[in-house]
């Protein structure tokens, strides 16, 4: 990273750390926590769908499998949620292998269809599986509190944990983008024949991207469950669209896209829910729909795309001058 970026990030992290000192209102902390969680999820989706170009249309399944693993281990076996989080990562990554290994040898469309199907299948299975809570879901035990139990009464600890996860996500995406993996994924996204001709093992690198993605989604799922202290199939498996939206609005395939998108979309979503509580859901959908239409028509590359096209115009003029 350039020195400028280090300073920028240090400033940003410092801001996030002192923010709760000045702002204590619970609903603002809640919105912040949701922004952090959705940024992490957005980065997770961005790695496989934005960078690698493999569209995941059922991404909520990786979040849900991670969350449900932790919840079931906690409620049925009394296993500490931090350990459960690692189990959740494991099951989510195994699931991504089950989809990826057959699909990544083929063209991207098969992976897209498979993810769409898998999330439906898992949703229906959990809904009918009483052991996992079925349609009613699982209530988390309120016996132990504190860091070791990953269960807190106030919002502040969740704020810092969610923020840490978001920072982990940003570290992951920066690592990918600035290593050969990032370049290889972009090649795979644009032209798989060229990737083959350059010695890139395409299925292997798609799988690498998918594992990073499943990891981030799983830890978000665990945190989300521990935060809500309740999960059910609707909470865990129906979030694919907001996850995609957060990244698309911010800028698919860009490093900061999910952060910007979450910063824009989540406050809108949460405020709509809080202030129009009765009709909140309907306004939610209205806003989602309008945003999709606006982004697709005006600027498919999202907010980061708008910034990039301004800098590109400058570079293009420079090339034309050289050519002449």
């Amino acid at each position: 990273m350039q020195k400028r970026s280090y300073i920028g990030w240090a400033f940003f992290i410092g801001l996030l750390l002192v923010f709760p000192i000045f702002v204590k209102a619970p609903y603002i902390l809640h919105i912040s926590i949701m922004i952090f969680i959705y940024t992490t999820l957005g980065v997770s989706w961005n790695i496989i769908s934005g960078f690698a170009g493999q569209l995941s249309l059922g991404h909520s399944v990786f979040l849900g499998v991670g969350g449900y693993t932790t919840a079931i281990l906690l409620v049925k076996f009394g296993i500490n949620p931090w350990i459960g989080m690692f189990a959740g990562i494991f099951t989510s990554v195994i699931l991504s292998w089950m989809i990826g290994v057959p699909c990544f040898r083929l063209q991207g469309r098969y992976f897209a269809i498979a993810t769409m199907a898998i999330v439906q299948i898992v949703y229906l299975v959990i809904t009918r599986w009483e052991y996992a809570g079925g349609a009613r879901g699982i209530y988390y035990p309120l016996r132990n509190w504190g860091l070791k139990a990953f269960t807190f009464r106030g919002k502040l600890p969740y704020y810092f944990i969610a923020m840490s996860m978001m920072l982990i996500a940003m570290v992951v995406i920066y690592y990918i983008e600035n290593s050969h993996i990032g370049y290889y994924l972009k090649t795979i996204r644009e032209n798989t024949d060229a990737a083959d001709a350059l010695g890139i093992n395409v299925p292997k690198y798609k799988m690498i991207a998918m594992m990073f993605s499943a990891f981030l989604a799983a830890i978000s799922g665990t945190l989300y469950g521990q935060y809500l202290l309740f999960i059910d199939p609707d909470t865990m498996f129906l979030l694919s669209v907001p996850i995609m939206l957060v990244t698309i609005i911010g800028g698919i395939g860009s490093t900061l896209g999910p952060l910007i998108g979450a910063g824009v979309l989540i406050p809108v979503q949460e405020i709509a829910r809080i202030y129009w509580s009765g009709s909140g859901r309907a306004i939610d959908q209205l806003i989602y729909g309008s945003l999709i239409v606006i982004v697709v028509i005006l600027q498919p590359k999202g907010i980061m795309g708008m910034i990039d096209s301004i800098t590109d115009k400058y570079k293009k003029r420079k090339y034309k001058l050289i050519e002449n």
Partner: protein, 238 residues
């Protein structure tokens, strides 16, 4: 020893035999031209060598190893590179990035790959456009970037699939100079070309394909005097 050896390579698509029992031997360090009318099977043969198609029968040996049946990326790792007839450079990345991706094959560290890419960039006279995005390049520059990218993978042999197509005379001259420079690095070249004025003078050896079969092989002079080649390809003797 021959670097590349084809023994009775045949490739069929259903009822159509695109490549018919072709034998070929390429010596290390040579520039070999592959010519023939459109539809003769040249690109199909290239695709068989590079692993995009698997031959129905026959053997392909490269550097002492049998490569027919291997995947394209495995063949590239064995130091056989190729360019494409329809250029496949990455439009959203810069010229330097494109070449870096080639360099990553042998150097996974980003900074070292960048250094290597800059050397290749310089070798191919692309320094002045190193930061230009692929989509903004002229066709001549695109072809040079694709060549540079192939060179960055450190190949022992490169398959050039019509690198001259679409170039104006000035670009054509520059391309010939680049091909000689590549040969001087010790890289063996097998190139498909239609522009006779270019391929005849620079090739050490010419192989002629027609309707999937090899009809002749020899020096440029021998080939241009051969009746069968003239009838099939070069035009009627006047």
């Amino acid at each position: 020893m021959n670097l590349l050896e084809l023994k009775a390579v045949t490739k069929k698509f259903g009822g159509l035999t695109a490549v018919n029992s072709v034998d070929m031997s390429i010596e290390k360090g040579k520039i070999v031209g592959l010519i023939g009318p459109n539809g003769a099977g040249k690109t199909t043969l290239f695709n068989c060598i590079a692993g995009y198609y698997h031959p129905n029968s026959g053997e392909i040996w490269y550097d002492g190893v049998r490569i027919d049946g291997m995947k394209p990326h495995e063949i590239c790792k064995k130091k056989l590179a190729r360019t494409f007839q329809i250029v496949k450079i990455l439009n959203k990345l810069t010229v330097l990035d494109n070449i870096m991706i080639g360099a990553f094959l042998n150097e996974k560290n980003v900074n070292l790959a960048k250094k290597k890419a800059k050397k290749v960039l310089n070798f191919c006279n692309l320094d002045n456009i190193s930061d230009v995005k692929g989509s903004d390049l002229t066709i001549g520059d695109k072809k040079r970037v694709e060549v540079a990218r192939a060179i960055a993978t450190d190949p022992k042999l490169i398959l050039f699939d019509e690198v001259m197509a679409g170039l104006n005379p000035k670009e054509g001259k520059e391309a010939i100079e680049l091909i000689y420079k590549v040969r001087d690095l010790g890289i063996t070249i097998l190139m498909v070309e239609h522009v006779m004025e270019i391929i005849m003078p620079i090739s050490d050896q010419i192989i002629v394909l027609n309707l999937g079969k090899k009809i002749m092989e020899g020096t440029a002079e021998e080939v241009s005097k051969n009746d069968e080649v003239i009838n099939a390809y070069l035009g009627v003797k006047t």
